[in-house]
């Protein structure tokens, strides 16, 4: 191989590596008689919180219903504990977080009770709960609990938070009616705010994965994608109608969006 060929392959390799990622609309999974709020992608299936019917719905990746699980009182933005495959379900109406594992339901014990828990996230020994009417996050670490945020509009305050996500020992909060994402460390120190300049109109759901922050813009009918520093990477709009939550699958580079306004799930693919 001569020097020119080596140079050509080097440039080609660099260019391929530099190619900006792009998320593209792939398909829609219509849902009949289901009102999706929360969504989570498990290894082989999807889970949706069906808020108007007070149940969880288990779906195949192509949208066939595998199971219906009743008895949840207004389930909202759910989470999956990947270590023990348990689903965490915030019950908006009952002020509890239920743990659904192997068909059995238990209740998460909390010292600080939320007033309408809207979202939950699980990471290592931490469980974070978005306390909608409390304007705060309850961060549980084994038996200890700390409170993060308070009602307000300043940096670090929260105003009707609806969802939470962990990533690299940081806590990301969908600060819904401050129209932004607030980021804290696990001690509750405020680190940064993301998206406040991008015209978000109610940030209802959040997912952080693969060094990207995904945010649903409910009234803007958009999903905004940021890097971890808060730099906007892409805005998704195709077929999006009042999105409430999202879930990313690194396995196949797919992003699942709970499309509340259309009672459907949208699938976007990273190219």
């Amino acid at each position: 191989m001569n020097k020119i060929q080596i140079l050509f392959f080097t440039i080609l390799t660099i260019c391929t590596g530099c190619k900006p990622e792009s998320w593209q609309y792939s398909r829609v999974i219509p849902l009949e008689n289901i009102t999706p709020i929360g969504i989570i992608r498990d290894t082989d299936n999807l889970w949706v919180s069906d808020v108007s019917n007070n149940r969880l719905v288990e779906l195949s990746l192509t949208g066939e219903i595998i199971g219906l699980y009743d008895g949840f009182r207004r389930p909202m933005n759910i989470a999956l504990s990947r270590s023990d495959n348990a689903l965490y379900v915030p019950e908006y109406f009952a002020d509890t977080v239920r743990i659904f594992k192997n068909g059995k339901i238990s209740t998460l014990q909390l010292v600080n009770l939320p007033d309408s828990p809207a979202g939950v996230a699980v990471y290592k020994d931490y469980i974070a709960i978005a306390d909608f009417f409390g304007h705060r996050i309850i961060l549980k670490n084994n038996k200890d609990e700390i409170i993060i945020g308070q009602e307000g509009h300043e940096f670090g305050d929260l105003y009707y938070p609806t969802d939470v996500a962990f990533y690299n020992d940081e806590l990301f909060v969908a600060d819904a009616y401050n129209n932004r994402v607030m980021v804290y460390d696990l001690k509750g120190n405020k680190l940064k705010a993301i998206g406040y300049e991008d015209g978000i109109n109610v940030a209802t759901g959040i997912e952080v994965a693969d060094d990207r922050v995904f945010v649903t813009d409910f009234h803007g009918n958009r999903v905004l994608i940021y890097d971890l520093l808060g730099n906007l990477q892409q805005i998704l709009t195709e077929s999006i109608n009042e999105p409430t939550d999202l879930s990313y699958s690194k396995k196949d580079n797919l992003l699942y969006i709970a499309n509340y306004g259309d009672s459907s799930i949208l699938v976007y693919e990273k190219k």
Binding site: I37, V51, S52, F93, A118, F218, H219
Partner: protein
Amino acid sequence: MKKKSILLPGLMILIISLVSHTAVAQEHAKQEKLKYAQVKVNGMACPFCAYGLEKKLKAIDGVIKIEIDVENGVASLEFEADKMVDKKTIADAVKKAGFTPDSIIFLAKLPEKETKPEF
């Protein structure tokens, strides 16, 4: 003269309290037949707000059923037959949910509904 000056305000107070008591009793009597209420709320849009309003209204003692019409910003309430729920209680619940009540109307029956999702 002194007696008159004491008696007159006393009589006035008695009359006022009787009138107001009668008005309250009449309102309650009227409400006994009005088993329903419709609350118009400004700014209700996202499902978290709508279900939050549902939760706060359902916490009122005497409310047995609620329907929320998100599109039109209207909450329809049904009361237990023997329970009295006043406007202030409803307005307070709406405020707790983060909204300002636009109007609260008591009704004998709810208007015929179009296709509304039941919450």
